[in-house]
């Protein structure tokens, strides 16, 4: 049996990790689900979001004004970073490649990821950024003697809200329903007069903003350094593979599974941190080769 304190720590940290993972990977699964693009550049969006948030919080803090407003800076930074980079990439590169082989698109987005890495470096340099202010603004609360920042609980709440909002938008709005038609069959949707190109652009930008938001939300809790994009993409892959690529609900379940696996290993046997994530993934795939909520495939012959 685990000691009580460890169990509590695993639960709270597990939820915290899950929230962060969900925010960081839901854009990836959304873009895959709609556009059939496995977007490695998602790691780049995450980094852009983290840097722009950390940088703007840093600048703002120097003015000495109230820290409360930094909570506004986080989503704004993510929005600006995501919209600008997402639009540039989708309109400037990806739209010329639609209809190409899925695996080729992986290579294309990898190339974009490389470019984004250096763009980030060129803008913000190679030093690390720390923007802890928002994380401590609300202080911390004790859960059975272990102190946790209130910020962490806010992030958990935000992840839940984002998940619910996406679910509502996909299932209960007119655009969401039209999007389902686009996912089902691009050609038929186009002939029905649905503007498929617009849906693709919007989806990609939304995905990019979500990726940047994942980074921006994480920024106060981490040290923002070059390479965080390459790290997150690996975790995000694990999340969406477990959940089933293209499924928003799957991403949530995947994030919870990965988040708790990681929290468990961090508190019980830290060296196995990365290993535990992939162990869980291997176990899931052994039973469900394409994840928990895999998309169906049609008849071939």
């Amino acid at each position: 049996m685990l000691p009580m304190l460890t169990a509590i720590a695993i639960i709270v940290d597990g939820l915290g990790f899950s929230a962060w993972l969900f925010l960081s990977s839901v854009g990836l699964t959304l873009i895959y689900g709609v556009m059939r693009i496995l977007n490695i550049a998602h790691g780049g969006f995450y980094a852009l979001g983290a840097y722009s948030a950390a940088w703007s919080i840093g600048l703002y803090s120097q003015t000495g004004s109230t820290i409360a407003l930094t909570f506004l800076l986080i989503p704004v930074a993510a929005l600006v970073a995501g919209v600008v980079s997402g639009l540039l990439i989708e309109r400037g590169i990806l739209r010329f490649m639609y209809g190409k082989d899925e695996i080729l698109m992986v290579l294309v987005t990898y190339a974009i990821f490389l470019v984004l890495e250096d763009v980030t470096k060129l803008i913000w340099g190679t030093d690390s950024y720390v923007a802890y202010q928002p994380a401590f603004y609300f202080g911390s609360i004790d859960v059975l003697g272990i102190p946790y920042t209130v910020y962490r609980f806010i992030v958990i709440g935000v992840a839940a809200v984002v998940g619910a909002a996406l679910w509502w938008a996909l299932n209960y709005t007119r655009s969401g329903k039209l999007l389902m038609v686009v996912i089902e069959d691009r050609e038929v949707s186009a002939s029905l007069g649905i503007n498929v190109t617009l849906f693709f652009t919007v989806t990609f930008v939304v995905g990019a903003v979500l990726g940047a938001f994942g980074g921006a939300v994480a920024a106060p809790e981490i040290s923002v350094t070059p390479g965080i994009g390459a790290e997150i993409i690996v975790l995000a892959f694990a999340v969406i593979v477990i959940g089933g690529m293209g499924s928003v609900g799957g991403a949530m379940i995947g994030a919870i599974i990965v988040g708790f696996a990681r929290a468990f290993s961090v508190h019980v046997y830290p060296p196995a941190e990365l290993f535990s994530i992939y162990l869980v993934m291997a176990v899931v795939l052994a039973f469900r080769p394409y994840g928990l909520f895999a998309l169906a495939e049609g008849r071939k012959i």
């Binding site: 590169i93 294309v108 990898y110 694990a238 690529m245 830290p270 993934m281 291997a282 394409y290």
Partner: protein, 331 residues
């Protein structure tokens, strides 16, 4: 082995040339060639899979396994023998890939790419958090010996270089042979239509498994050679970013011939030296843009510029024509 074809003869002719380069060119250039021979073999491993339509974003796993097999043998048992280390690297790559192959062979396309990446990151996680193995710093290898002979400091570099050239060329020739063999053909077929393969009486999964293991073994050998050349190993070898570089090389150079990734590796190595000097923070922008340009404008890679039988399309036909030519009268 008789009936060598043009590529095989080319490699055999290239061996003395390569060795001569090592002895005549300035040391810093030779160092780059030396290192590229190791990484070139890993790129070859990526290329062999790509021929079957499988893109591995985790080939660094076997690069690392080879390197660590050699390194650990030195650290644990004080082994430094060139041949023994290569044998160990092959054995390690063989065992791991044979076992992992049972998982990977179920997947294709992006899933294959992602899972190969995931698997390589497991090793990355394990090595980075293992204090005994120097965690993220890795550790050094002892100087290489040869069947009990330890060359003196002044010649050890040259000896190792020559010793590295030989297995590299042998691997390249064997891989070329493999691509021409029935299994190599099945690889091509795998990329195009698996249903037909099953209906011809062959297991597509088994074919993937075989290709996976072959690619792994070549990459492990590359890892051993690279580790000996550098005298140092660290977990970065199996980071997915390293693996992605091998993918980049395969895309850049093309997969039309086994020589392409070897040249591609060397080319990239030299470009990197200058690019990093001129614009240290823009290297990835260059790499990324080149990759996009190649994908759009030169999908068969640089090799298609120098080769008469461009890439995949005419490859077999070309050979078939050559094979049936002596008969004449066929049109």
């Amino acid at each position: 082995m008789n009936n060598l074809d043009r590529t095989e003869l080319g490699f055999i002719a290239a061996l003395p040339l390569l060795i001569a380069c090592g002895l005549l060119l300035p040391q810093w250039i030779v160092n780059y060639i030396h290192v590229s021979l190791g990484t070139g073999l890993v790129a070859l491993g990526v290329m062999v899979q790509m021929r079957a339509g499988l893109v591995s974003f985790g080939q660094g796993l076997y690069f690392c396994i080879g390197g660590y097999a050699a390194g650990l043998a030195g650290r644990l048992w004080g082994l430094s023998d060139f041949f023994l280390l290569i044998a160990l690297g092959i054995a390690a790559g063989l065992v791991v890939s044979f076992l992992l192959g049972f998982l990977l062979r179920r997947y294709r396309r992006i899933f294959y790419a992602m899972l190969s990446l995931a698997v390589s990151m497991i090793l990355f996680g394990l090595l980075s958090s293992s204090e005994e193995l120097g965690s993220t710093d890795g550790f050094n290898l002892p100087a290489t010996s040869y069947l009990g002979w330890l060359p003196g400091q002044s010649v050890s570099g040259d000896v190792l270089y020559v010793a590295t050239c030989i297995p590299t060329v042998i691997c390249a020739i064997l891989l070329h042979r493999f691509l021409r063999s029935p299994m190599g053909y099945v690889g091509e077929a795998l990329r195009e239509n698996e249903i037909r393969i099953e209906y011809l009486g062959m297991s597509a999964r088994k074919a993937v498994h075989i290709i996976y293991v072959i690619a792994a073994v070549v990459s492990s050998i590359g890892g051993v050679l690279w580790a000996m050349a550098l005298g140092h190993i660290d977990p970065e070898m199996t980071n997915w970013v390293t693996s992605a570089q091998f993918v980049f090389i395969a895309i850049l150079s093309g997969i039309g011939n086994v020589a392409a990734p070897l040249f591609g590796t060397l080319l990239l190595e030299f470009i990197r030296v200058y690019a990093v000097e001129i614009a240290p923070d823009s290297w990835h922008i260059i790499v990324g843009s080149v990759m996009l340009l190649i994908i759009v404008f030169l999908p068969r890679g640089l090799w298609s510029l120098v080769s008469s039988n461009n890439g995949l399309k005419n490859k077999f036909t070309h050979r078939v024509k050559a094979a049936s030519e002596p008969e004449g009268a066929r049109s």
